[in-house]
Every structure is written in C-alpha cells, then in structure tokens.
Symmetry: C2
Subunit: 134 residues, 2 copies
C-alpha cells in the first residue's frame, strides 16, 4: 500500500541502513517543488537520491523523522512530518554548530508502480534558520 | 464533499465577498500548527476567523489562491496551493511595498460535520521574506 511505502521511506531517512531504498524509490525521482532545496526541479537517479539522503544524515547523524499525519488518494500520498537531529556536520558551508534542531514540513508524494517517483514539499525553513542562528 | 468544501474556501479567500464563510467554517476553528502565523495554536470563533481573512486581504487586496493539488481521506483534506498578490497594505508593521509577491504552501484540513474545523499548515515563509526584502 502506498501509505506503508511512504512510512517505510521515512524510516529509511531515520537510519544509516539504506538497503531498502531501491524497493521504495523509482529509478527516476523528480523533485517537482521544494523551495530552498539544492535539488529542486531535478530528476534524480538512485545514486543521486542516495547522495541527497547521505548529505542530510552527515549534517545530522542522529536525524529522526516522525510521520504525524498521512492520507492517500489515487497516486498521491500527503504527509505532515517532524524531524529532529543534532547539527554535527557541514550544512551547505555552515560548519557544525552542535545544536539540537527540530523542523517540520508537509509533502505530497507521486506514487508510480508501487514506488515513490517524486515529491512537492514545503519545509518551515524560516523556523529552521532561526534555530540555527538563535 | 469535503474536497468541494475546501475548494470553495480558497475561492472565498480570493475575493472580498465573505458571504459563504459561515457555510464553510465551523463555529470553532483551530489553527493546530502554522509556523509564523499570528494565530497559531488558537481556536478562532467566526468573527476572529473573518478578521484573519480581512487582515490578509487588506495587506494584499488582489490576493488570489490557486489550488494546485488536493486529496481527501476520512476527515482530512490535504492541499498544495499557490497565492499571489500586491503588497498594498500594512503587514505586521511592515508598510506597503507595492511589490507583487507569489508564495506557496501545503495545508491539511480537519473536516467536521461538513465544515472546515481547523488546519495544520506550512508556508514557504523564507521565500516570501526574500521577495519582500529583494
């Protein structure tokens, strides 16, 4: 089911074992909209998707996502999520601050052939930056 | 249907005729989560909800919302929306800049007894501020 697929995707984003990734993500994954994301507008192959995930987990090695709400209809799944982690690695040129950060977002996923094939996402980046600078 | 209800709500946010509002909004409307919103965490009566809408339409008198995607399940509706308007009125102490702004967000609505009774929302406020300051 599409909702289980997306829950498993958040579990993979919350650990360093990426072995499930190929069963969750389509060979081509499009970031249709994700303001402020370095990959916005791009279609990623699996290696690039994996690099995107690695990038987040290197900046926040204890990164954990919680799915707060999830609904599904046809080929779309919509999610409210929260994440938290400690900023222990480089974040786009910003050296580790050691700060414990929490941030939240909402995401629509496109599901194709039982896998996630893309997303439209909005993250509370203003709140995130305020925590980093605070 | 819940999806039609939410589409009509965005139409009401896009015009100065609020006559439909009582048929769309529950007597108590809770803003469960909406980072950066002045009413976040509050439960609004209809008068307060109307003031919130008026506040936005005074800051952006030509404000128009477009529903880009919408899915519904049980008592929830999830929406991707875009908005645009000209900043012609006071915005939390910031005087009118005359700038034409576009901004986007995602929202989950709680539906109760055929009306919208609350929301969880994330707006791209960083992009919004960058346009205001740019």
């Amino acid at each position: 089911m599409a909702s289980d697929l997306i829950r498993r995707l958040y579990e993979t984003w919350s650990k360093d074992d990426f072995s499930e990734l190929d069963s969750l993500i389509a060979e081509k994954y499009t970031i249709f909209s994700d303001p402020g994301d370095a990959w916005e507008g791009q279609t990623l192959d699996r290696g690039t998707y994996r690099n995107r995930l690695l990038y987040s987990r290197r900046a926040f090695p204890d990164l954990v996502f919680d799915v707060m709400q999830l609904i599904a209809e046809r080929d779309r799944v919509a999610v409210i999520w929260k994440a938290s982690g400690t900023h222990l690695g480089d974040l786009r040129g910003l050296p580790a601050t050691g700060k414990r950060l929490g941030f939240s977002g909402q995401t629509f996923y496109l599901i194709q052939d039982g896998k996630a094939a893309g997303h439209w996402q909005v993250i509370d980046r203003l709140g995130f930056i305020q925590q980093l600078q605070g």
